[in-house]
């Protein structure tokens, strides 16, 4: 026996089926509206799963995930519009830049105890949003950067591309979470002092995990920029981080697959809530509070666990 968790076949099969159904959905119900909603849902899926890998596993809630998203999106805008590079450059550069920010922020903030990491990350995101306005001559201020070229012109094909990336990233992070690495991250959530007593350099693990998390958040930011074809300082807004955290809580924190489900569910739900418009943040916040109080393990992951046991899978 290896002692590490294995991916059970049932969950793997369910994930693959869900991915295929999502890919097929626009063929069954044609129309650009649905493709648009699903593309955004898949991008939120990437953001949620990247948040969950670091914050869900270690329990260090990052309230500034929007910073990495914004950095990735603006990187795409700068490269494509200001520097006139081809759109595909955005993907590697946005990842690297977001990783750089994660190193710079992780070193001082991940040594902090208690809620200070969350607060420091929140402040960093707010500062970045302000900086975008202060240096408006370079960043375009409130307007942001317009006329970004699409990565793939065909909307359906772009959706499939984003969906495939979501699948690959989720699989990769899911595999990491079940490895020795993931076990250490969950141990850090359990007790940091005991981790030290077990010979584990916790700060290194936390920083590297934040860097991995930031890389995919930045990638998602670039994908979003090339979908919206423009970026604005709103990307850095706290509401983006809160939305992602809500998705993770709905999905089931620390379960990797759950948050992807949470992101898909809530994005589709948001479309249904379109007419509440301005009230969206409040609806999300109330939802988050209710779930933290009444369903601390989330909705999707526990439901799946029950379903799996019901059909004879392992608990």
């Amino acid at each position: 026996m290896s002692g590490f968790k294995q991916l059970d076949k049932l969950s793997g099969a369910a994930g693959a089926t869900a991915l295929l159904l999502l890919a097929a959905a626009p063929l069954v119900f044609p129309g650009t509206y649905l493709i648009g909603v699903l593309t955004v849902a898949a991008i939120y899926g990437i953001w949620a799963v990247s948040w969950d890998f670091m914050s869900g596993l270690t329990g260090r809630e990052n309230f500034g995930h929007s910073l990495f998203i914004g950095v990735g999106a603006y990187a795409a805008g700068f490269l494509n519009v200001q520097m006139e590079l081809g759109p595909w450059w955005s993907l590697p550069v946005s990842m690297l830049l977001a990783m750089g920010f994660a190193v710079l922020l992780g070193f001082p903030t991940l040594r902090l105890k208690g809620p200070y990491f969350a607060l420091a990350m929140l402040s960093a995101a707010v500062i970045m949003q302000r900086l975008m306005l202060i240096f408006w001559e370079h960043t375009g201020g409130e307007e942001g950067i317009q006329d970004i070229a699409p990565l793939i012109r065909n909307h359906l094909h772009y959706y499939w591309f984003v969906l495939a990336l979501l699948g690959v990233i989720t699989f990769l992070l899911g595999w990491l979470a079940r490895s020795r690495w993931g076990l250490i991250l969950r141990a850090i959530r359990g007790d940091e002092a005991t981790c030290l007593a077990a010979g584990i350099p916790i700060t290194t693990y936390k920083i590297v995990s934040l860097v991995i998390s930031a890389a995919f958040a930045g990638l998602g930011g670039a994908l979003y920029a090339h979908y919206q074809l423009q970026v604005s300082p709103q990307l850095f807004a706290v509401v983006t981080s809160v939305t992602i955290i809500t998705m993770v809580y709905v999905g089931g924190m620390g379960t990797i697959f759950g948050p992807v489900g949470g992101a898909l569910l809530l994005t589709l739900l948001t479309e249904g809530l379109r007419n509440v418009g301005e009230w969206r943040l409040m609806v999300y916040s109330v939802l988050l509070i209710l779930i933290i109080f009444f369903l601390p393990d989330g909705v999707i992951a526990p439901l799946w666990r029950r379903l799996r046991v019901a059909v004879g899978g392992k608990p």
Binding site: G3, G190, C195, G199
Partner: protein, 247 residues
């Protein structure tokens, strides 16, 4: 005299006005079971934290296996072969019993082809094999102690430091843990340093005692010598008949 494993010279620590550990000197030979004895607040746990660099000492020298531990980070000390437990059990909440032990073996010191198998062996050794899949937070206090010991052993230490292994346990559990410590010592020739203030079991377990009071070593010697040492008795209960202490 057998080989010296741990050597402490002039160890000193102040917390503001409190002189928690005063100029402590001690040596521990390989294969010994040494107990640090002292009433509450005598500086025992602080000593442990100083030896493992969880707290940095103000002065003094700690040499383990010929290597100075000055400035070595706590997680690196485990890599050198010193593993510790905590007085208040601190399991990894949210992890299973097996995973808790597994984490103990994830440092760079342990090279084993099947860490899961090894973790199971350790669990059988401490008597927790049946509870391998139980979430650690559901264990009883006695089982948590066993889990702490198994987790520390997973790091393959040469020196095992147990911080009050009997704290909060009933007498039958104390006997069981005592037997476990003895067995580990016998089977692996493990060097063990333990802190305790429960006297009777402690005195039967250790081969040598270092008594602390107000951060200072007040006596050192065989258990029988320590229980009749007037300074130790005074530190514990004031001046009284020594028999009362051990009974």
């Amino acid at each position: 005299m057998s080989e010296i494993l741990l050597e402490v010279e002039g160890l000193d620590k102040r917390f503001g006005g409190l002189h928690a550990v005063k100029n402590v000197n001690m040596t521990i030979a390989r294969g010994e079971i040494v107990g640090i004895l002292g009433p509450n607040g005598a500086g025992k746990t602080t000593m442990f934290n100083l030896l493992t660099n969880f707290i940095a000492p103000d002065a003094g020298k700690v040499v383990f296996n010929g290597q100075s531990l000055r400035g070595v980070k706590p997680h690196k000390i485990v890599t050198l072969g010193v593993a510790r437990t905590f007085q208040l059990c601190r399991p990894f909440v949210g992890l299973s019993v097996l995973e808790n032990v597994l984490v103990g073996s994830l440092g760079p010191r342990v090279h084993h082809p099947d860490l899961g198998e090894r973790a199971m062996q350790l669990l059988s050794q401490v008597g927790l094999a049946a509870k391998a899949d139980t979430p650690a937070e559901l264990l009883s206090y006695g089982d948590l102690r066993r889990l702490e010991i198994a987790r520390a052993l997973a790091a393959e230490p040469e020196l095992l430091m147990l911080d009050e292994p009997f704290a909060g346990l009933g007498s039958s559990e104390i006997e069981a843990i005592s037997a476990l410590i003895r067995q580990l010592h016998a089977e692996k020739n493990l060097t063990i340093l333990l802190i305790e203030h429960k006297l009777r079991e402690f005195m039967q377990l250790v081969s040598r005692v270092i008594a602390l009071d107000f951060g200072e070593v007040i006596a050192e010697g065989l258990p029988a010598e320590i229980v009749s040492n007037p300074r130790v008795i005074e530190a514990y209960i004031g001046k009284q008949d020594p028999v009362a202490v051990v009974s």
